[in-house]
Subunit: 425 residues, 2 copies
């Protein structure tokens, strides 16, 4: 049909072959029942446990290559599997079987004056392209969420996890052979070159969506180069704004929690904005609480005056995701200045106000442009499990399709079904 189609037909790359298989599988998956899908998930869970030794042997190859290449210990930790992690994957698959299947759900139903009856139902997206970094557990996670929602998946993991990913996908395939779902539903690209990934960015014909999972650089590369629709996840430059009327202990507890409880994640706090009047009285308390937890502080001039251990904040600090025990602190005149700062430097992820003023809170809720806005709670709650979704594909920081933590429905589209008795226009 289109020129693009013909060109791709002659290019039998690994990606193209596997994307086509996934596309074919997606048609079968779309009509699979919840029972068939849950049965397959249980089969994968059992197979992972049964072939644990094989997975660990293959994973160890990646870890050894990583150590030879002087991979950092934190990356090795993300890469390394053990019995507990495999058990966690197997358990998560069983948990997933207990969640409601969104496919087939009737979202709306109405009748038109001409007698047409209309309904809007949830259907799978089709084929999901998943591009991710070192963690091999994403291989199981992405595959299982896609299967539960009737989608085929083309996985493109990191070269550093290629042995682990191949082993896990081989195990998934052996489990799918015992199920009624197509084995071709889960495809792993063994070619982890940049060229293969670039080709994936443009494969609109076979891929319905691309989901990047990893660091800000990976995500931006996918967003900036893909013509396939992208579900943008991840980068979080989250703020805690402490308003004039904030309860002192609550503000300190929330700021500390949001900054230090797990600093490497996207919903951790990176900047604290403090109302001038609150700062005058209580900022030294907050600074020492942070410093007790070994947090390096980058502050504006007013903050620097209060503590000799504050580093001068540069313009770029306001836009930095430290992902570690560092924070930027700025004094602001009022809630409007805080909102302006957040909307300038934030990544539209999670933003919190600590305040007793309902007026300030209402303004903050209305004007801050972010997926999740909090009053008197830590930004760390932005998470599919904390939201009660029972599963999470990622946290969307874009505005189309899905925003914030994405549960199973984010992996679905809709279809209008119209029943008539001969209506013409």
């Amino acid at each position: 049909m289109t020129k693009i189609f013909q060109e791709q037909e002659t290019d039998q790359s690994e990606l193209l072959q596997k994307a086509k298989k996934a596309k074919h599988a997606s048609a079968v998956l779309a009509k699979s029942t919840t029972k068939q899908k849950n049965h397959a998930l249980r089969a994968i869970s059992a197979q992972l446990l049964e072939e644990q030794a094989y997975i660990l042997t293959e994973n160890n190859k990646d870890v050894e290559v990583g150590r030879q290449n002087e991979m950092s210990e934190s990356l090795v930790d993300r890469l390394k599997l053990d019995e507990t992690r495999i058990q966690d994957m197997a358990d998560a698959l069983i948990q997933l079987t207990k969640l409601a299947d969104p496919v087939g759900e009737v979202l709306e139903k109405w009748e038109r004056p001409n007698g047409l009856t209309m309904s809007k139902i949830r259907v799978p997206l089709g084929v999901v392209g998943m591009i991710y970094e070192a963690r091999p557990n994403v291989t199981v996670d992405a595959s299982s969420l896609c299967l539960k929602t009737g989608n085929a998946v083309v996985l493109r993991g990191s070269s550093t996890a290629i042995h682990s990913n191949k082993a896990i996908v081989a195990v998934i395939h052996r489990a799918l052979e015992k199920s009624e779902l197509p084995v071709e539903s889960v495809q792993l690209l063994e070619d982890t070159s940049r060229e293969a990934a670039s080709h994936m960015f443009k494969l609109n014909q076979y891929l319905d969506v691309l989901i990047p999972r990893g660091g800000a650089k990976l995500i931006q590369t996918v967003v900036q180069n893909s013509t396939v629709p992208v579900l943008e996840t991840g980068a979080g430059n989250c703020h805690i704004y402490i308003d004039e009327t904030a309860n002192v202990q609550m503000a300190i507890d929330i700021a500390l929690n949001a900054k230090t409880q797990r600093p490497s994640v996207c919903n951790a706090c990176e900047s604290i904005l403090v109302h001038q009047a609150w700062a005058d009285k209580h900022l030294p308390l907050l600074l020492s609480a942070l410093q007790d937890q070994h947090v390096t502080i980058h502050g504006d001039e007013l903050v620097q005056k209060l503590s000799p251990n504050v580093i001068a904040a540069e313009e770029e600090d306001w836009g930095t995701e430290y992902l570690g025990l560092e924070v930027a602190i700025k004094i602001v005149g009022d809630v409007s200045e805080a909102i302006e700062h957040i909307n300038t430097y934030g990544t539209k992820h999670s933003e919190a106000i600590i305040s007793k003023s309902s007026e300030s809170v209402d303004q903050f809720f209305m004007e801050v442009d972010a997926a999740a806005v909090y009053h008197n709670a830590s930004t760390r709650f932005t998470d599919g499990f904390e939201f009660g979704f029972g599963a999470e594909i990622g946290i969307s920081t874009q505005k189309l399709h899905a925003r914030g933590p994405m549960g199973l429905p984010a992996l679905t589209s809709t279809k209008y079904i119209i029943r008539g008795n001969g209506q013409i226009k």
Copy 2:
């Protein structure tokens, strides 16, 4: 912050200046009340009527240039405004004030065991980029739908309608001056070069979504080149499948209606698939009914045997959107073959089955991958007004965000609002 940001800061192109103004305006629009927005829409309606003579004079300049350049009469017809068309635009604006404002709607509300209360509310998208062809009424239509949903808009129309578009936007600006909405909410690019459009495709920093409206070529250019999320609209290679058990008169009436009532639109039928058994008895009736309406028929071998006036269908006919009085007809063995054909050549827009078999209908509904699937009704009903939405931004043929006719909610995103009393993780 990012490199892209800095580069763009130094490039003060018309697009960039106007996109920035739109972005600033969007923050004010996001907190505008329904009353303020409806007041602005009424002001625009009145101003259009008041300045009708000016708009018609400017429109006439475009028509004259078009005629000098030997523009086809059908394009001139799309371009040309008259008193009736301006009255229609003014009336549509008043209709729009009567529709519910989706912004602020609470979509979900729940409480977590830790006491956090969660709600999901509708918010505007931000800034919408609209890229469209000759019709100047899209300028009013797009602007008003965006304003109603609290979005700013950057309009990029065709060079062939530039006088009309400038006049209409000047009129909109004069109306906005009398309203409480920012005048900067509606921006028209006067630079209609391809370079300016290409720049728009990549302006992720200021544009939240791009909506192309026009022919298949325009839409594919936008889809294939944009990194800004796109709402893909339009192309419709729609099929009518006449099953073995189809009522003869109903099948003929629906096929005729879908093909001939308005052949130039995306929900018109382009191919008819006919079950072998029905064809054996009734195909000559269908063919002569179509030929009576001057429809050129491209048929497969079996169809050709039945009528001397049938042109042999080539492979490319199955994928062609004729948008005129032409149709491709193919005989199929069963509903599965019809579905396979539709999923191979269709554009996932609107597909209909005419049948008395609930089994065939269920299979068709389940397996055909399209925005709208019909039983015993014409595909011509795929339209925001026919669906009862009261407005339409376009018909989405993509699977993310919105699928099928898009009403006002398609121009919104969501935000999670979380209220706590000191919760930390």
